[in-house]
């Protein structure tokens, strides 16, 4: 059953991810991105990291994609302004990437045992403790990084005084 779920989630994730790349309308791309992240969090659950699955939904699906959707809706682009990609290039590069990735996979997975991990019982606590002891300094730097980001974003967008008012002038 677990294997079946794995395959189902894997295929779902990949299908949604291809939706991101293939759909013309950026709103559909964002929607596919949500579905794809949902599938990923399912995979995380199956690997036993409930905490990371929740963080994936909380931050990626619940915040990052919201930002994408907001921007897409604020700009409200008319669909299909984009020149269509050269399908020959798409086909050839896609085939090449898949071919190489499958070879790499074949080589990679030969050495790896086919086992599911014995899930440690208190894994969230282990991670948290490690995060606040050995990785404390990177963690604090993270906060500094986010502070710099807040300032940077306001520096970037401060000049943006209502570029295109409600309707086109």
């Amino acid at each position: 059953m677990r294997e079946g779920l794995f395959i189902a989630f894997s295929l779902f994730t990949i299908a949604a991810a291809s939706g991101v790349v293939l759909s013309r309308n950026p709103v559909y791309s964002a929607f596919s991105l949500i579905l794809s992240f949902f599938g990923l969090s399912g995979l995380y659950l199956l690997w036993g990291t409930t905490f990371m699955a929740m963080i994936q939904i909380l931050i990626y699906t619940g915040a990052i994609v919201v930002l994408f959707v907001f921007v897409v809706m604020l700009l409200n682009l008319q669909v299909n302004k984009e020149s269509s990609p050269n399908f020959l290039i798409v086909g050839i590069s896609g085939a090449a990437v898949w071919f190489f990735s499958l070879i790499i996979l074949r080589v990679l997975t030969q050495a790896i045992p086919n086992t599911l991990p014995a899930i440690p019982t208190d894994q969230i606590r282990t991670i948290s403790k490690l995060l606040f002891t050995r990785y404390l300094w990177p963690f604090e730097v993270l906060s500094l990084f986010l502070l710099v980001m807040i300032i940077a974003i306001f520096a970037i967008t401060r000049t943006q005084e209502i570029p295109h008012g409600g309707e086109k002038q």
Partner: protein, 354 residues
């Protein structure tokens, strides 16, 4: 897990889910009669005794109305919109505990859909997905009111998610666990045999923050800006038909129930009766399943009380303006949430040191 377990779990899940769905018709009549009571008028009293069958009439009316899909809409997302709101609202109830456990065929089953060890994160995470229905529905309607309503509504929801998260975080800090079940278990007993050992007495500020944020998260008055009819017609569901409106409504009531359940579990002792411990109850009643019944009744009563508060507040307090709303979230609630977190941490530290 064998087949018996699976069947019992499935039946339990379906029963809890149907119970949650029943909140909608009950709240329909309670809200209409409650509004009438507060505004000093009779309210709907024609259908059935005391108007009790009014929800049935309402639902039938909604079903029989015409479905008009406007021409300008983006069909796929327009149809998906209401369900994208209802879906997360249905999923969040999984982590709510309604009681300890019941015994069936010499086996114990918890009175909760799933004993998720990251329960509170689960509710916050899945609960935050509801805004996609609003965003996509509002955008797909291709109407100015809908779009502005959707942007406003989602700005409001995301702004109030942070105080909600901070308040929940203080609770996690206090109880030292993510699991709602363990939080409720930790609230058994009394403080100095005077007050029940409930979270509200340890986290009053946290409860206040949570309470305010819960109103904003569920789009209820005083924070129902997304559909402020004086400004935006009907907000993000301007272009939607009766049944889609019903779906949005259903999701709103289910979200209210979840938020009430969350408040009860974190701050009001969940299934515990005040001053009476489960062991005493078991001694009086003698049967595990009877105790479980009492626990479920207690939890449901507490949740029902908070639902009534939702209705009461709706008809008492006027609506906020959008800038007031944002100021309340960013200038007052978030700093207060951080202060609450620091106070809780300091109290725990000095308690540990003493």
């Amino acid at each position: 897990m064998d087949w018996m377990d699976l069947i019992v779990t499935a039946v339990k899940t379906i029963v809890i889910y149907l119970g949650m769905v029943q909140v909608v018709p009950i709240m329909l009549i309670v809200e209409r009669r409650g509004a009438a009571l507060i505004q000093d008028r009779p309210g709907p009293n024609r259908v059935g005794p005391f108007g009790l069958f009014q929800p049935i009439a309402d639902v039938i009316k909604m079903m029989m109305k015409e479905v008009a899909v406007p021409k300008q809409v983006n069909k796929a997302l327009y149809i998906l919109g209401p369900f994208l709101v209802l879906f997360p609202a249905s999923l969040v109830i999984a982590a709510l505990p309604f009681g300890d456990f019941f015994t069936l065929f010499d086996k114990n089953y918890i009175l909760q859909v799933a004993n998720i060890d990251v329960g509170i994160l689960y509710i916050l995470a899945i609960g935050s997905l509801g805004i996609y229905g609003i965003l996509f529905g509002g955008w797909a309607s291709n109407n100015k009111f809908s779009l502005i309503g959707a942007m406003r509504s989602s700005s409001q929801i995301i702004s109030y998610e942070i105080p909600l998260g901070l308040a929940a975080c203080s609770a996690v800090l206090w109880y030292g666990t993510f699991s709602l079940r363990e939080m409720v278990t930790g609230q058994e007993g009394t403080i100095l045999s005077v007050l029940p050992n409930w979270g509200i007495f340890y986290q009053p500020l946290g409860f206040l923050l949570f309470f305010v944020a819960a109103f904003a998260e569920t789009n209820r008055l005083p924070f129902d800006l997304p559909e402020s009819e004086a400004e935006l017609v009907a907000g993000f569901h301007t272009e939607y038909g009766p049944m889609d409106f019903g779906t949005f409504f259903m999701a709103e009531y289910m979200n209210m129930a979840t938020m009430s359940g969350l408040m009860v579990s974190i701050y009001f002792g969940g299934w515990h009766l005040p001053w009476i411990s489960d062991a005493t109850l078991l001694q009086w009643l003698g049967s595990r399943n009877l105790v479980a019944l009492i626990q479920v009744l207690t939890a449901v009563t507490k949740i029902a009380f908070f639902m009534l508060v939702f209705v009461w507040v709706r008809w008492t307090i006027p609506r906020f303006r959008f800038d007031q709303l944002m100021r309340l979230a960013w200038k007052n609630l978030i700093p207060l949430g951080l202060i609450n977190l620091v106070i809780t941490a300091l109290v725990l530290y000095f308690k540990g040191a003493a």
